[in-house]
Amino acid sequence: MNANEKADTNAHWPAIRFTVNGESRTVNVPPMKRLLDVLREDLHLTGTKEGCGEGECGSCSVRMNDELVNSCLVPVLQAEGAEIQTVEGLALEGELDPLQEAFLQNGGAQCGICTPGMLMAAAQLLAHRPHPSETEIREGLAGNLCRCTGFTRIVASVAAAARSTESNPAMEPELEQTHHAR
């Protein structure tokens, strides 16, 4: 443990309470510490990633009180009393959530570094628009950068996840993909 963390967990900082993935947590950290760092360093939830530290890439996205936020821009004091969901809160009891399952089947994750944030953005979108159009999916994910996939398969994954909750889950994702063997 380094000197910095000793200072952060020092009880002379006021307690800040919030819920993460359904569990209530209390931290004694500087109130201006970024929520991202509190999640990663103090709560050891390293699924949430830092890509830019300035609100541009979305890899630090978490859901807070039913809003999608860039946790690199949120001082932890703003999280007082909040309900927060991170990527670790999606697969409960080891079962992949339909969204994760769709990403796995459709190639939505390549290097995986944008994936936690992307899943949070997608979860937020589907919570409000269970059956989004392709345009709505692209809009909903526009704050999350992925350098690997070109977004095609992420969009397809979100569409597939939306369909999997419909009455007819057997529909194939609308991905065009044709192989001709010779």
Partner: protein
């Protein structure tokens, strides 16, 4: 050879091997790791592009005794990052040759204190005149590298170019330029290093080539092989950006670890990563082409020059690939390519997906449309008329032995994109519409694997073993960074061994555990390493048949039982293979003549672009990518590679500009270095035609780099189709579009409403 379509696992969309870990947030990237007693490291960098270091002073208000400070004097071995040419110091010693050059390193247990301390180191310089452009460097008024600023040059010649001009029906000339491009992997560079007298140096990090880092550390620390260990952590994107740079960062972190006596973590923030690490080489390419009156190529002469930055790094090999891709997939009897890479006082440029080919292909394919315009020919037919066919020779006079299906790829691309119908429709609609649409095409090939005799020199070793717990492991130093190495190599192994995909895992990418199967670059993993794994597996099966009673056909249980019998008799169950070149390979490194690559992947890309003549923005509305990459090992991963490469290519063409001022990148933030978002990337339609390659893993060729080569010329050709104006430089931003359109239609009336 097992390249036919009757495979169970190869060719199937099995789940990505490490996919679940990535989806639940469990995958461990370097910044997610912590070591007991770990400190943090930071770098003091040059603020000037070129000069002598006069003095280094430390602000007295900082308690320096809490810090570890490392300078060049602390380097136990050679102050050189070993790569191709031994010219780049690990830490500047007395002089600097580019902005952001590392001079001094700091470590402290508290990363916040480190940030303050960085500002407390004051360096004074005697500035020397810098060189910032290819033009300044080739003038040689200031010599900033070697005797003549020339990092590398190549001359490739076929036939007799000089006598071709006189009888030509047409001669077309053009100059094309491409800008620097940032990889923008979403995970910044990062390393954790430890040092002890007994074990030497151990590093964990985000990197592509563990044995490159290994070699660099061995030199910097003057240690024997057994005292250097490099372990790749989960890597959040690389694209070539983590090919050479991690050798520098690992050396830095390890120097701090040695001196401080603590593990040291160095993870760059985005601004430092953008400012200090490598980018794609900017290039200037001049074409002069002779054609007969019907549009058949008679002679191609190319002068291709790149800005290499302050040190040689990989500029020579990038230039080599640029040279070899510069004439495109066309037949031409007379060729001369003179290629040169020039030193400047920029941050050294490095590897980036495509490795010189995107620059060369941009010029060639843009030039083909200029030729078509000059000859008043359909750009599609001009290309078709000049395509390479089986039995032809390309620019290095490599005989094209494998089937070439460019015509088929072209037909498919035209049909899928409704190319001609759209061209006609847009030509009609554009007249009255302030939004002008156009279609653009690019034809290209990309060589798989190392150039020429490169694979022979690499002498890769790879294989499989079976642990006492009956886990079959693939032993390679090739790394996963999103492109699918883990998945395709375990597919190949499980297929060849006749067992299940879930029976096979990857051994940890750790130089103490895996052999050197070469770097994870150059689209070589599927084809070259995949083939090694396939051979190693077939060798294991025949050994088990001969020596452990495995039957002619087997179940997975019978296979594992035979492995146990073999283990009892021989101790361990492993099978390794070394690279063997395909037969009849001939390559002359001096003359650049012969078999440049073992195989080529081929492609036709079509872009549909809309140019708004009011806002001067260009938007790619639709994209079709038809390619032949040998056997497709995994349909979802393969298409994902193509789509991702195309998105980067769209960024290269229209969005991504590295703004340099006085040798420094001034837009080193994601706020102002702009990559395409989900809303900017159009629907991408990906098609594969499969022609299995005999010497690739289950018939595969390389595909990772291919998709970055074609988008930029296809897009700029579409813009020409839409507007009638030729743009020959990328990136093409709205201000450039404005300048070009305004210059060509100075008196145009506003379009009718």
């Amino acid at each position: 050879m097992n390249t036919h379509a009757t495979t169970r696992i190869v060719g199937a969309p099995v789940p990505r091997k490490e996919g679940v870990d990535k989806l639940v947030g469990r995958a461990c990237y370097v910044d997610d790791m912590k070591r007991e007693g770990m400190w943090y490291g930071a770098t003091v960098r040059s603020t000037i592009p070129r000069g002598l270091i006069r003095s280094i002073a430390f602000d007295r208000r900082i308690e320096w005794s809490e810090f570890t400070v490392v300078t060049a004097a602390d380097i136990p071995g050679e102050n050189i990052i070993q790569l191709i040419v031994a010219d780049q110091p690990c830490l500047a010693d007395g002089k600097v040759n580019h902005c952001e050059e590392p001079i001094l390193l700091l470590a402290h247990p508290d990363k916040h204190k480190l940030r303050e301390a960085l500002g407390g180191v004051k360096i004074e310089y005697d500035a020397l005149p810098p060189v910032f452009t290819i033009e300044e460097s080739e003038q040689q008024d200031q010599i900033v590298w070697g005797a003549d600023n020339l990092l590398k040059s190549f001359l490739l010649e076929k036939g007799d170019v000089d006598s071709a001009w006189a009888g030509a029906g047409h001669i077309v000339e053009g100059e094309y330029r491409t800008g620097a491009q940032e990889h923008l992997y979403i995970e910044n560079q990062g390393i954790i290093a430890e040092y002890s007298a007994e074990d030497g140096v151990t590093v964990w990090g985000s990197l592509q080539c563990p044995y490159y880092v290994f070699k660099a550390l061995r030199g910097v620390f003057d240690l024997p092989d057994e005292k250097v260990r490099v372990i790749q952590t989960e890597t959040g994107g690389a694209f070539g950006g983590k090919e050479d740079y991690p050798s520098i960062l690992a050396s830095h972190a390890a120097l701090l670890a040695k001196k401080s006596g603590h593990p040291v973590k160095m993870v760059y923030d985005r601004m430092e990563d953008l400012a200090a690490t490598t980018k794609r080489h900017p290039a200037r390419v001049r074409h002069r082409t002779a054609l007969d009156k019907d549009g058949k190529l008679l002679a191609i002469e190319i002068h291709l020059d790149t800005d290499g930055g302050a040190y040689a790094t990989l500029s020579s090999t990038v230039l080599s690939r640029a040279t070899l891709h510069s004439t495109g997939p066309y037949l031409c009897p007379n060729v001369r390519v003179r290629a040169q890479s020039w030193a400047t006082n920029h941050v050294p440029y490095g590897a980036f997906r495509g490795f010189g080919a995107p620059q060369a292909v941009f010029a060639m394919e843009r030039h083909m449309d200029e030729i078509a315009a000059t000859l008043d020919m359909d750009p599609v037919e001009l290309r078709r008329k000049n395509f390479l066919h089986d039995g032809d020779t390309n620019a290095t006079e490599q005989l094209m032995r494998e089937p070439i299906i460019l015509d088929k790829l072209l037909d498919r691309a035209l049909q899928a994109s409704a190319y001609h119908a759209k061209c006609a429709q847009f030509a009609r609609e554009n007249e009255l519409n302030p939004i002008k649409r156009g279609m653009g095409i690019a034809a290209f090939y990309h060589g798989s694997g190392f150039t020429g005799s490169g694979e022979l020199y690499l002498n890769s070793l790879a294989g499989v073993d079976v642990t006492p717990e009956s886990k079959v492991r693939v032993l390679v130093s090739n790394t996963e960074f999103g492109q699918g190495t883990n998945t395709i190599l375990t597919q190949i192994a499980s297929e060849a061994l006749g067992i299940e995909y879930s029976d096979v895992t990857m051994a940890a990418p750790d130089t103490d555990m895996v052999p050197n199967s070469g770097p994870t670059v150059a689209s070589r993993t599927s084809m070259v390493v995949g083939r090694l794994i396939e051979r190693a597996c077939l060798q294991l099966i025949s050994r088990l048949r001969e020596q452990a009673g495995l039957g002619a056909t087997h179940t997975r249980e019978e296979f594992l039982a035979a492995c146990e019998r073999y283990r009892v008799a021989h101790g361990e169950v492993s099978s390794m293979c070394r690279y063997e070149a395909p037969p009849d390979i001939y390559w002359d490194d001096q003359k650049y003549h012969g078999e440049a690559y073992g195989a080529y992947a081929w492609a036709i890309y079509v872009a549909q672009v809309a140019v708004d003549t009011v806002t001067y923005s260009a938007e790619v509305e639709n994209f079709w990518a038809v390619q032949e990459v040998g056997r497709v090992l995994h349909p979802v991963l393969a298409a994902g590679q193509i789509e991702g490469g195309i998105a980067q290519g769209i960024g290269y063409a229209l969005y991504e500009k590295v703004v340099l001022d006085g040798g420094r990148m001034t837009n080193n933030q994601m706020t102002n270095y702009i990559m395409p978002t989900a809303e900017d990337v159009p629907p991408i339609h990906v098609y594969f035609e499969e022609v299995p390659f005999r010497y690739g893993g289950f018939g595969a060729k390389g595909l990772g780099e291919l998709p970055h080569d074609g988008p930029a010329p296809a897009i700029l050709n579409a813009i020409r189709d839409a507007t009638g104006v030729s743009f020959n430089s990328i990136p093409l931003l709205p201000e450039d579009l404005y300048a070009g359109l305004a210059a060509s239609h100075p008196v145009e009336e506003p379009a009718l409403p």
